[in-house]
Amino acid sequence: MKKLTKEQIDKALKILRMPEDSKLVTHLNACVHCGLCATSCVYFLTMKEDKYVPARKVELVASLYRRYCTLTGKIIPKLINARELDEKMAEEMIDLLYGACTICGRCVKHCSIGVDIAYVVKVGRQMLAAMDLVPPSLQSIVDAALNTGNNMGITTEEFTDTIQWMEEELIDEMQDENARIPLDEKNKNILYTLNPREPKFFPLSISAMAKIFYAAKESWTLSTSMYDVTNYGYYSGNNEHAAIIAKKLYDEVKKLNANTLVLGECGHGSRSTRWEGPNYLSTEYDFTTLTVVEIINDYIRSGRIKLDKTIINEKVTIHDPCNLVRNGGLLNEIRFAVKSAVADVVEMDPYGNDNFCCGGGGGQLAMSEYNERRLNIGAIKAEQIRKTKATIVVTPCHNCIDQLTQLNHHYKLNIKIKSIAEIVADALVVEN
C-alpha cells in the first residue's frame, strides 16, 4: 500500500472528530470486549479465526477514536489500545471491514451490551472511502451506477430490448394483446424498480412481476433511465456517491410523477432507498416507498389478485434477507406472501430476525477478491437449507439469489431458487 498522506488521514479522522449525533460516540465507547458476539458471526463460526470476532472489527475503529479523540489515548495510548492510523491499520481495516463483514447485523442483536457493530463497520468503511481506499472491484460497481444509471452498465437499448422481449412473453402467456410492460409513462400509480441483475441475468423475474401487475390491473411503469434499485454507495461507505444515486431515483419519481416508488427484490437496495435514501438527501420523501413484498401483500389482502396454493406441490423454505427482515421489519410480510402462494412451507433453523446471512451481503458479491471467504461462510446457509429438505428456496433479494445460486452449485444442494414475485406468479390465477 502507498503511504497515506496527511490529507487522507485528516479526511478519515474528520468522521470520528465531528460526529453528527450521539450514536457514533456511544457505540465506540460501549464495547467491553466480552467476545460473546463471536458465535453470532458467520465468519467466526465457519473459519474460527480470532480476527473474525465482530468486536475485533469494532475495535479497529474504536482504537482510532481513542487515539485521536480521547485524552487517555493521546497520553497513554498503550493502556487502552489506542492505535495510529497508518498503512498497516488501513490494510487491516480493508481486510476486515470490507472483506470480512456482510453488515448483516446478526451480532448486533446478540451483543451483550447492544453495540451496533454493523453501524461501526459502516463508519469504518466511510473512513476508508474518505481515503480513497474502497476495493476497486466494489468501486467499479459504484462508478457504473454513477456513469450509466445502473450498476451493471446496461445500455438503454439493451434494457429496452429485454423489456420488449418480456412484454411479448407476457402477451403470449396472458393471451391478451393489451398486456404491457410500460416504459417511462408519466402519472402512473407506481414506478417500479429492478435489480439490474434482472434484465441482465434473470429477466423472467421481471415478467413474473409484470404478470402480477397485470392481474392486479395496476397502473405502473418502469423507467428506462433510472430503474436501478441498488445503491452500492451504501456498501462502499462513500455517502456522497450514495446520495447522488439516491437523488437520481428520487428525481425519476418526480419526473414521472408517480405516487408510489416500489422497490424491486433487493435487500440492500430496499434498505438504501427506503431507510437510508432520505437521510443521504436530508429530505423527507413526499411519496410512498414500498417494497415489492408489501405491494404484493396489498393485492392479496384486497383481493386484487388470487392465488391457488395447490399449483406448487413442492416443499418451500424462506431465506430472510438481513436488510429486509432483521434490519427492515418485514418478517411477517414475507411469510404472508409465501404462505399465500404455497401450501408446504418449512422454516429454517434459526429464521427471521435470527436468520444467518447467506454470505452475499455487504457488497461481498461485488468484491471478487473475497470469493473464497464468501463461499466458506455460505456453508452455514447451505446446511440450514439442506436440513429443511425443501426443494425451493424463496427470497426477495437478487443479491441473496445470486449467492444462493452459487451455494447451490458449490454445496450440491439441488434446489431451485425463486424470488417472491416468481413464486407468487407461479400460483397466480388470472381471470381474463
Binding site: P19, E20, D21, S22, V25, T26, H27, N29, A30, C31, V32, H33, C34, G35, L36, C37, A38, T39, S40, D50, K51, V53, A55, R56, T72, L79, I80, N81, V108, H110, S112, I113, G114, D116, Y119, R274, W275, E276, G277, P278, N279, S282, E284, Y285, T289, V325, R326, N327, G328, G329, L331, N332, R335, F336, K339, E347, Y351, G352, N353, D354
Partner: protein
C-alpha cells in the same frame, strides 16, 4: 473523618463529574435525525431494548450461560458495592448499625460476585480469542472492580480493613472515567440507540412469526 475518607469522597466527586461530562456530551450531541418514514413504535422498542431484549433469544446469554451468569452476578455485585460505599459515606453522619443478617447476606453476595469477577478475569487471560481481543485496560478494569468487591467483603468482616477498603475504592473511582468502566454511561445510551433503530423500522418489539 479520617484523611482516607476525604480522599475517597474526593475521588467519588471526580468520578461523578467525569462521568457526567460524558453523559452531558451525549445529550448535547443529541439523538439521530432520521428523515425516513417511521414504520414502528420507537418508545415501545426502546422499552423492549432496555428490558426483555437483554435475555430474549439472545445468543450472548443462552449460548454462554456460565459467562452470562457470572457477568450478571458481577454487575449486580458492583452496583451493590457502590451502594454500600454510599451508605458508608452517609453513615458517617447517621451512625446506623446494619442488622447482622444484612451484613452476612452482603458478605455472601459480594463474595460470590468477586469470585465471578476473578473467574471472568482468568477467562480473559486464558482464552486465546479473549486474550487477542483484550488490552491492558480490560485486565485493569476487571481487576480493580473485583478487588473493590473483595475489599468490601473484608471490611464487612473486619473493621480493621477500613484503610485498604477506602484506598481500593479511591483507585477504582479515579480509574473509572479513564478506561472501559465508563460503559456505565454508554451501556444505557447503546440500548437507547438500538431501540431507536429497530423501533423506527418496526423490527422491535419483535412480532410473533406468522404460522
Amino acid at each position: 473523618m479520617l484523611w482516607y475518607h476525604w480522599l475517597t469522597i474526593g475521588a467519588f466527586l471526580v468520578c461523578i463529574i467525569a462521568l457526567m461530562a460524558h453523559f452531558i456530551r451525549l445529550i448535547y450531541l443529541g439523538k439521530p435525525k432520521d428523515y425516513s418514514r417511521k414504520s414502528g413504535n420507537v418508545t415501545k422498542a426502546v422499552a423492549y431494548s432496555a428490558t426483555v431484549a437483554m435475555i430474549d433469544h439472545k445468543e450472548s446469554a443462552y449460548l454462554h450461560i456460565p459467562t452470562y451468569f457470572a457477568g450478571m452476578v458481577y454487575h449486580i455485585g458492583t452496583f451493590v458495592s457502590f451502594l454500600l460505599l454510599l451508605f458508608f459515606f452517609i453513615n458517617m453522619i447517621l451512625q446506623i448499625t446494619l442488622p447482622q443478617w444484612i451484613v452476612w447476606v452482603l458478605i455472601a453476595g459480594l463474595s460470590l460476585s468477586a469470585l465471578c469477577g476473578f473467574s471472568l478475569l482468568i477467562k480473559r487471560a486464558v482464552s486465546k480469542p479473549m486474550r487477542s481481543l483484550s488490552n491492558a485496560d480490560d485486565f485493569i478494569s476487571n481487576l480493580l472492580v473485583s478487588l473493590f468487591q473483595l475489599a468490601s467483603v473484608a471490611y464487612l468482616l473486619c473493621s480493621c480493613k477500613e484503610l485498604s477498603y477506602y484506598l481500593s475504592a479511591t483507585i477504582l473511582l479515579l480509574y473509572m472515567p479513564v478506561g472501559k468502566l465508563k460503559h456505565l454511561v454508554y451501556f444505557f445510551a447503546a440500548r437507547y440507540h438500538l431501540g431507536f433503530f429497530y423501533g423506527w423500522r418496526n423490527v422491535w418489539p419483535p412480532k410473533k412469526p406468522l404460522q
